[in-house]
Amino acid sequence: MAIQLPIYMDNHATTPVDPRVLEAMLPYFGEKFGNAASRNHSFGWTAEEAVENARGQIARLINATPKEIIFTSGATESNNLAIKGAAEMYREKGNHIITQVTEHKAVLDTCKRLEKYGFEVTYLPVEKDGRINLDDLRRAITPKTILISIMYANNEIGVVQPIAEIGKIAKEKGIFFHVDGVQAVGKIPVDVQKDNIDLLSVSAHKIYGPKGCGALYVRRRNPRVQLSAIIDGGGHERGMRSGTLNVPGIVGLGKACELCQNEMAQESEQLRRLRERLKEEIFSQLDEVYVNGSMIHRLPHNLNISFAFVEGESLLMGINDVAVSSGSACTSATLEPSYVLKALGVGEDLAHTSIRFGLGRFNTEEEVDYVVSRVVETVRRLRELSPLYEMAKEGIDLSKMNWKAS
C-alpha cells in the first residue's frame, strides 16, 4: 500500500475521529437535534436516550456505573471540576492537596490557583523513570490532606504511574483520589474499582472521538464524592455541571469508548509492536539516542527520544511530512524546554533534542519504516551541521565547557 503524506504520528495531542464514531454522531447534528433536557416531547427523549446510552458505554470501559459519569467540554474542564469542586466542597475537612510535577497544566495550574485561595499543594517529584515514589507520597500526607491528584499516564513520555498502589494508600487514609486519565483511558485497562479511583477525567478526542467533549467519573458509593459546581446554571448533570449537553459530542465519546473497549487488547499489542519497531530501527541506525522515561511502565504507543546534538525544532523541520512533536523550547511559547523532561533529570541540552512519537490506531508498519528513514537521514544531516557533535567526536567534554550564551 502506498504511503499517504503527511503522516500523523502525534496521537497524544489529538486523534482523528474514527469513521464509525463520526457515523454514530451524524444523526445528532441532523434530524435528532433535540435538547436532552427537554422532558416533554420526543425530540428531547431521543436526545436523552442517546446521552444515557453514551453514559453506559463510558461507564463500562472504566468499570463504573452510568450515574457516575458527568459530561464536560473536555478533560481540562474535568480536571478543573474535580480539583476545584472537591477543594471547595471539602474545605472544612482540610486544605491540603497532593499532586506531582509532571502533571498536565490543567492540573498544575488549577492547583496553583487554589494556592492563591489559601490551599496548600505538595508537588511530588518524580524518579528518573518518571514515576512518583510511594514513600514520598506517604510522607506528604497530613491530616489536612483532602485530595491526591495523579495522572494515569503522562502525555509527553507515556509513563504510567503506580495508580493501583496510590489508590490503595488514598483509600486507607480516607483521601479522595483524582486521576487525569486522558492518555490512558481507552488505551490500557483502567478500572476505577480495582484502582480505587474516586474521580477520573476522560477526553473524547484522545480516543478517536470528537474535540470539545469529555467526562468526569465521580464515585457515588464507598465513598460518595460530592463536588461544588464551577459552572452554575440549569442544574444539569446532577447539579455538578450546568449547560445544555453536547449531544453529538457525547454520542461520539460513547461510541469511541465502546470501540476502545472492544479493540483495546488487539490494538495495544499492534501499537506496541509498531513502537518497538520504531525504537529498534532508530537505535540500530543512530548513536547517541536516549529514551526519556521508563520503557517498562509506559503506554504501548508512546516513544520519547532525545537525539543528542540535534535541536528538536530543526529536526521537525527536516521531517516536515511527518507530524510529531518536540520538547524543545523553540516549539513552545515560553522558550523553556519541556518541564516534564526537566523533572526526570534530563539535562536541558538533551531536553532540547527530544521528539515525542505518538502512534495511533491508523498508523501502519510502512509508515513507521518511512518515519524511521526520514528521522535517521535528517539526524545524520543535522549532526554534520552540529558543532556539538563535532566536539563530542573530538573527545571534548561538553559539560565542562564554559559556554558564552548571549
Partner: protein, 140 residues
C-alpha cells in the same frame, strides 16, 4: 510556526558548512551560545593578514531552523568583506533578510555575536588589543 522561504532555503541548502583548522594563525573561531539554551553556533573565518579581507567562512550550528539560517547567511555575508565591514553587520540586517519573527530574533543576535567572536579570536592571534566585546566559549 511558518518559516520564510529564505529560512527554508538556508536550512535545506546551508552555505559554507564545515570547519577550518582552528590552529591556523589566520583563522578566527567564534563559538557562541549554549546547549542548555538550545543554540550553539561555531563560525570560522580565514582572514588575509595583509588586506584584512575574509577569504573563507565556515559554520556549524546546533539550533532551530532560524539559527541555522542566520549563521549560514552570516557566512555568505562576511565572505569577501574586510574585518571592519564584517563588524558592521548587525543582527537587524539578518532579521530583515530572513524575515525572522520576534521569537527568533535571538538567533540573529547569536549570529552577530559569532561574527564578532571570530574576529576577536583572530585579532587575539595577531596580537591586536581589542575591547572584549564578545568572546568564545572556552574549555575549562
Amino acid at each position: 510556526m511558518a518559516y520564510s522561504d529564505k529560512v527554508i532555503d538556508h536550512y535545506n541548502h546551508p552555505r559554507n558548512v564545515g570547519s577550518l583548522p582552528k590552529e591556523d594563525p589566520n583563522v578566527g573561531t567564534g563559538l557562541v551560545g549554549a546547549p542548555e539554551c538550545g543554540d550553539v553556533m561555531k563560525l570560522q573565518m580565514k582572514i588575509n593578514p595583509e588586506t584584512q579581507v575574509i577569504e573563507e567562512a565556515k559554520f556549524k550550528t546546533f539550533g532551530c531552523g532560524s539559527a541555522i539560517a542566520s549563521s549560514s547567511l552570516a557566512t555568505e555575508w562576511v565572505k569577501g568583506k574586510t574585518v571592519d565591514e564584517a563588524l558592521a553587520i548587525q543582527n537587524t540586517d539578518i532579521v530583515r533578510e530572513l524575515s525572522l519573527p520576534p521569537v527568533k530574533i535571538h538567533c540573529s543576535v547569536l549570529a552577530e555575536d559569532a561574527i564578532k567572536a571570530a574576529i576577536v579570536d583572530w585579532k587575539k592571534k595577531k596580537g591586536v588589543e581589542t575591547p572584549a566585546t564578545q568572546s568564545s566559549a572556552t574549555h575549562d
